[in-house]
């Protein structure tokens, strides 16, 4: 049975639905990311789970019990805020001890648990420092220790790494996963950074405009996006319109720029559809095998790979090629592009997509 369940969760501010009919579950012990662009309602969702905002509609259940009547202070959740929200007038140890004090844990045990929590985040030696004398990464660990020391059933992280610089962020991704595994705590993390979500999570919930777009493992959301939004938000993708002629249980017939192509089977009705192809799955081939032909507009050398922008009748296509030590097509060259049928993702047409 699912540990955390949200059913039809909705939050309305005035006219707009910040969160719109969100239903999802989180398994015990897992690390789940809520991924979406800024303003899509991630923080609002987290705030409702934490108890700082009341849902306009819908239910949240934790370990089978309905949270709606339980105030934030009694939910016993560990929360790490985007700004860390450390108590600047208290030492690191006092910050971490605060939650235990509120629970009337006696002094000896408090001391032991604070020491354990600081050990877990590798900050044992800084217990008596004030947060102002610490780096961003260290403050982050203090916030984590403070949230974990109360042994929460659920850990909520709101963009925990967004205030760190790029190098530290990568380090903390691994560190955060280690801490989460060692503490064995079910975790829901909010982020707008797709690579962060892919790298850290067991499952990813992709949100757009308050709605859940897809819930899957990181590999699945990347490989099998179910909507146009998911295909472009996670990684790079070439999306174009095509005509779906027919569908069988094993294959589909597509008409792309006047050429008939066989694609993977799809649960869609014939008509206009959107096709997504990842840039790294596109190959440069001989004229005879081409799906589409275009002219190289731009070419960037990235060391391990080449990135090309090719103008085609389907629109500009991004092509990424591994650097195999050969010369590549130059700007202005005509190139023939092709891809394997199984690398096409056939999606419902997204009217708003550009």
């Amino acid at each position: 049975m699912a540990f955390l369940e949200a059913h039809g969760l909705t939050k309305t501010y005035g006219e707009t639905n910040a969160v719109d009919n969100l239903t999802f579950t989180v398994e015990k012990g897992s690390f789940v990311s809520l991924l979406g662009p800024s303003g899509c309602g991630k923080t609002t969702t987290l705030q409702m789970i934490a108890g700082f905002e009341d849902p306009t509609m819908g239910k949240i259940k934790l370990a089978g019990r309905d949270l709606s009547a339980i105030p934030a202070r009694d939910r016993g959740l560990g929360i790490v805020f985007q700004s860390y929200a450390l108590f600047m007038h208290m030492t690191v140890a006092e910050n971490v001890a605060f939650g235990l004090e509120m629970r009337n844990v006696d002094k000896a045990e408090r001391k032991r648990r604070v020491a354990d929590a600081l050990e877990l985040v590798h900050l044992g030696h800084l217990a008596n420092r004030y947060p102002r004398a610490m780096s961003g990464g260290q403050r982050q660990r203090v916030a984590l220790a403070r949230a974990l020391v109360i042994e929460p059933e659920l850990l909520l992280l709101d963009e925990p790494l967004s205030n760190l610089d790029a190098k530290l962020r990568e380090e903390m991704q691994l560190e955060l996963r280690r801490i989460q595994r060692e503490a064995g705590v079910t975790t829901l993390m909010v982020t707008h950074d797709q690579s962060e979500a892919l790298a850290m999570s067991d499952r990813v919930l992709v949100m757009e405009k308050g709605r859940l777009q897809q819930e899957d493992s990181p590999f699945e959301v990347y490989e099998r996006p179910r909507t146009s939004f998911v295909s472009t938000f996670l990684g790079k993708s070439n999306n174009f319109e095509a005509e779906l002629k027919s569908v069988t249980p094993t294959a589909s017939q597509l008409l792309i720029a006047g050429r008939g192509l066989t694609g993977p089977s799809v649960n869609l009705k014939p008509g206009t559809v959107e096709v997504a192809v990842r840039p790294e799955r596109i190959e440069i081939v001989d004229a005879a095998d081409a799906v589409i032909t275009g002219t190289v507009r731009e070419r960037i050398f990235l060391g391990a790979q080449w990135m090309m922008n090719v103008a085609t009748p389907l629109g500009d296509m991004l092509v990424i090629r591994r650097n195999a030590g050969r010369r590549e097509a130059e700007i202005g060259d005509t190139v023939h592009l092709s891809w394997a049928p199984e690398h096409m993702r056939i999606l419902p047409l997204n009217e708003v997509a550009a």
Binding site: I79, F81, A85, F87, H89
Partner: protein, 282 residues
């Protein structure tokens, strides 16, 4: 360095210089002159006025009373202003703008008018005493006019907005998520206020106290109306020396002593604040 800011603030600086520094310097020099009952102000230089003030227990009493009133006013402003600022901070934006107007509104009305309002309330036949007598709660009126307590009450009302604004500014500087963090750790609202919010706004309380204290110590209109001749403070004493006794040099010396003592207290206070909290909170 860019010289433009200097040039642009030159008019203000000139105005400031002319309107503040010139009279201040004149008062300063005046305080060393002497005064004879028949001769008037004599252009001599001596410390006799200062010696007279410092050696007379009458003046000590007045200075003592002035600072006691200022201290009590500061205390009550903090006591009332801190919760008021916190409530203001917690209000929704729509309500906040209304309440800010209510808090700051009194500043738009002359101190004299507000003090006269208090005089109407506090007098022996004033609103409060009449009401209490009508309800049979007291037999004889409680003396509130011409008492230090009455002055403190009115000054607290007059200066409260400054404390509220100082504390409110400090509240807005703090991370708004800390209260939510404390709540998620199991703290109740009062605990959040006492353990988390209050310690973080202490610098605001201290700077508000500085403003209120110095303004209360040098206030004139309120003690003049509510204290009259019977409860004299330094500012009203200076006024009397200038306009009744016509001993301008002595009045100037008292004024300089008030200025000096308020400044010493302010600087000492400021140092304490900086040493204690300058580094503790960004």
């Amino acid at each position: 360095m860019n010289e433009k800011p200097w040039m642009m603030s030159a008019p203000a600086l000139t105005l400031f210089g002319v309107l503040l520094l010139v009279p201040l310097c004149m008062t300063f020099f005046l305080s060393f002159n002497s005064f004879g009952f028949y001769t008037g102000i004599e252009n001599t230089v001596s410390m006799e006025n200062y010696v007279e003030v410092v050696s007379d227990s009458y003046f000590w009493e007045i200075f003592g009373r002035t600072f006691a009133i200022a201290l009590a006013t500061t205390f009550f402003c903090a006591l009332l202003g801190v919760p008021q600022a916190y409530i203001l901070y917690r209000l929704s934006p729509a309500w906040r703008s209304i309440v800010v107007l209510i808090v700051i509104g009194p500043l738009l009305i002359s101190v004299v008018v507000r003090t006269l309002g208090w005089a109407i309330l506090l007098g022996n036949n004033g609103v409060i005493n009449s009401a209490l007598q009508n309800w049979g709660l007291i037999e004889r009126p409680i003396k509130m006019m011409y008492t230090s307590g009455g002055i403190v009450l009115a000054l607290t009302h007059v200066f409260l907005p400054f404390m509220v604004l100082a504390v409110w500014a400090a509240l807005q500087r703090k991370d708004p998520a800390v209260e939510a963090a404390a709540e998620s750790l199991g703290a109740r609202p009062f605990t959040i206020f006492r353990r988390i919010v209050l310690p973080q706004v202490i610098p605001g309380i201290l700077s508000g106290s500085l403003i209120v204290f110095s303004m209360a110590a040098s206030s004139f209109a309120t003690p003049a109306i509510l204290g009259g001749r019977r409860v004299k403070v330094v500012a009203t004493t200076v006024y009397d020396e200038f306009l009744n006794t016509l001993n301008w040099p002595l009045g100037a010396a008292i004024a300089m002593l008030l200025l000096a003592s308020v400044m010493v207290i302010m600087l000492a206070w400021n140092r304490l604040v900086e040493r204690r909290y300058g580094e503790a909170l960004e």
